[in-house]
């Protein structure tokens, strides 16, 4: 398959049910193999944008194409298989009674055979370094373990694109760096919504800055994170009110 454009968004706008503007005229193309950070202050629309990538939120005229496929009813299954979505709170992602069932949920829904499901679950757990956790119940895991399992739940579908929402939030530094290492070892196209700029520096070659539902800047991570004025104008660095601290 021709796969140079992993994500193609043209003129995407979204209004929340309560009338609040979520996204406004988003144009964004991400190429295969890229690792893109989506940064911006709280409420900028990062999560909303991610939810469009696999059609959880959808615009009437499909402005989003994933790996060349327009995100519509016809392609939704294929798209969801190729786009692994990891939600911010692993408690939402891990809804089954044990780890195995959670990781197997995707493959089972996709109709793989039992052996294939087993193989995929084992492989996915292996990739996140949680091989022996199959029978554990999700509730009793630590937050770092939950985050890893949450990633395994989408890896079991062998996604080509990984969309992560705040993967490092509420992790301690050790857990955070372990997760960054884990993510950097996965050979997939990544789009990561976050305000953890430390992780962005390590993981992402490109950074898109979002504020109030619009793309404000898009460029090399080094350039954007080096622009102190830009960051503080959009709530991502210390601004004048905190200058003397």
């Amino acid at each position: 398959m021709l796969c140079d454009r992993a994500i193609e968004i043209k003129g995407l706008s979204y209004v929340y049910p309560d009338g609040q503007c979520g996204l406004k005229d988003i144009d964004l193309t991400i190429y295969c193999g890229e690792s893109v950070a989506l940064i911006g202050p709280n409420g900028a629309g990062k999560s909303t944008l991610l939810l469009h990538l696999n059609g959880i939120l959808r615009n009437s005229h499909s402005a989003v194409r994933m790996l060349g496929l327009p995100v519509d009813d016809k392609n939704i299954r294929e798209v969801r298989k190729k786009v692994g979505m990891v939600f911010q709170d692993p408690e939402d992602q891990l809804f089954s009674l044990n780890v195995f069932e959670d990781v197997a949920f995707g493959p089972v829904n996709m109709g793989f055979s039992e052996e294939e499901v087993d193989r995929r679950v084992k492989q996915a757990l292996q990739k996140v370094g949680m091989r022996d956790y199959e029978k554990r119940s999700s509730h009793h895991l630590s937050i770092g373990e939950k985050k890893r399992i949450a990633i395994a739940t989408v890896l079991s579908l062998d996604p080509e694109i990984l969309a992560l929402d705040e993967p490092t939030s509420s992790l301690d530094p050790r857990g955070k760096w372990a997760l960054i290492k884990l993510l950097s070892d996965l050979p997939v196209t990544r789009i990561i919504a976050t305000h953890d700029l430390e992780m962005v520096r390590c993981l992402c070659n490109r950074t898109v800055l979002l504020d109030s539902g619009r793309i404000v800047a898009d460029g090399m991570t080094g350039v954007i994170l080096g622009d102190e004025a830009l960051l503080s104008a959009h709530g991502l660095a210390r601004d004048a009110t905190a200058a003397e601290i």
Binding site: L51, N54, I56, R77, R80, K81, V83, G84, M85, F87, D89, E91, D92, Q93, F95, S96, L97, N98, E101, A104, F105, G106, V108, N109, M110, E114, V117, S138, H139, T153, V154, L157
Partner: protein
């Protein structure tokens, strides 16, 4: 823990429990010999399942407040020979022997039933129980709601506890009216949070190919011991009917 009873197919255990409860409920009031047989069956099962008797007995006490709440007025309203009576003004309050008999019957029957349910729930993992219900064609919605309830009960309790802590740390001797008000707010807040969580969980399910049907991999096996067990139990349950009527 592991025992013969633990290893039985959950379907066998569910159906046998149902049969036992039906037998107990359908036994005519006052047939004490039949109750004794039922109790012996339960004791036998407790021994067979190697559950500590103390543990079962302690847990079975939970039922009493409910039963007593429901049945405490029986002795007063049932017509019959008076055991004790009081005259308070124009009121004539009497406790009848027939009423007392009904109360005792209700208490004994519910206690027998709860014993059975405790053995069932203590000897079967919750996942297996759900799996069994699913295989017995209990409506999927019901099985799924039960599964989510079990999975998120602790998350919800956690949340409630944190809210309570936050409330208590700002609580400077509230009067009773205000306590009820904050409690109402907390319950409302918990509901909204659960509602929002449900939406996020649903999004996470959709993202992994959920299309309205939970597919459960079959790991249950109805084996010969299950058949023997079910047969033996049914015979024992029929004993009182055969012997004394």
């Amino acid at each position: 823990m592991d025992s013969f009873v633990h290893r039985l197919d959950p379907r066998t255990k569910l159906l046998c429990s149902l049969a036992f409860i039906l037998a107990v409920v359908l036994t005519p009031a006052g047939t004490w010999k039949a109750y004794a047989v039922y109790l012996l069956i339960m004791l036998g099962l407790i021994l067979l399942s190697r559950l500590p008797i103390k543990y079962v007995a302690k847990r079975s006490l939970v039922i009493f407040p409910f039963v007593i709440m429901v049945a405490i007025f029986m002795p007063f309203f049932k017509q019959g020979q008076e055991a004790v009576s009081y005259d308070i003004g124009a009121w004539h309050i009497a406790i009848t022997y027939e009423g007392l008999a009904v109360l005792i019957n209700v208490v004994v029957k519910s206690w027998l039933c709860i014993l059975c349910l405790i053995i069932l729930s203590s000897s079967t993992k919750f996942e297996k129980l759900l799996h069994g219900m699913y295989r017995l064609k209990v409506p999927q919605v019901f099985v799924q709601i039960t599964s989510f309830m079990y999975r998120y009960m602790f998350v919800l309790a956690d949340q409630a506890m944190r809210m309570q802590m936050a409330r208590d740390s700002r609580n400077f001797g509230l009067n009773r009216r205000n306590i009820f008000k904050t409690m109402g707010n907390m319950i409302g807040m918990l509901f909204i949070r659960s509602y929002e969580r449900a939406e996020r969980i649903y999004a996470a399910m959709l993202s992994r190919g959920y299309n309205g049907e939970i597919i459960v991999r079959d790991q249950l096996g109805f084996r010969l011991p299950d058949a023997y067990f079910a047969l033996a139990l049914c015979l024992l349950l029929a004993c009182p009917a055969i012997l004394w009527w």
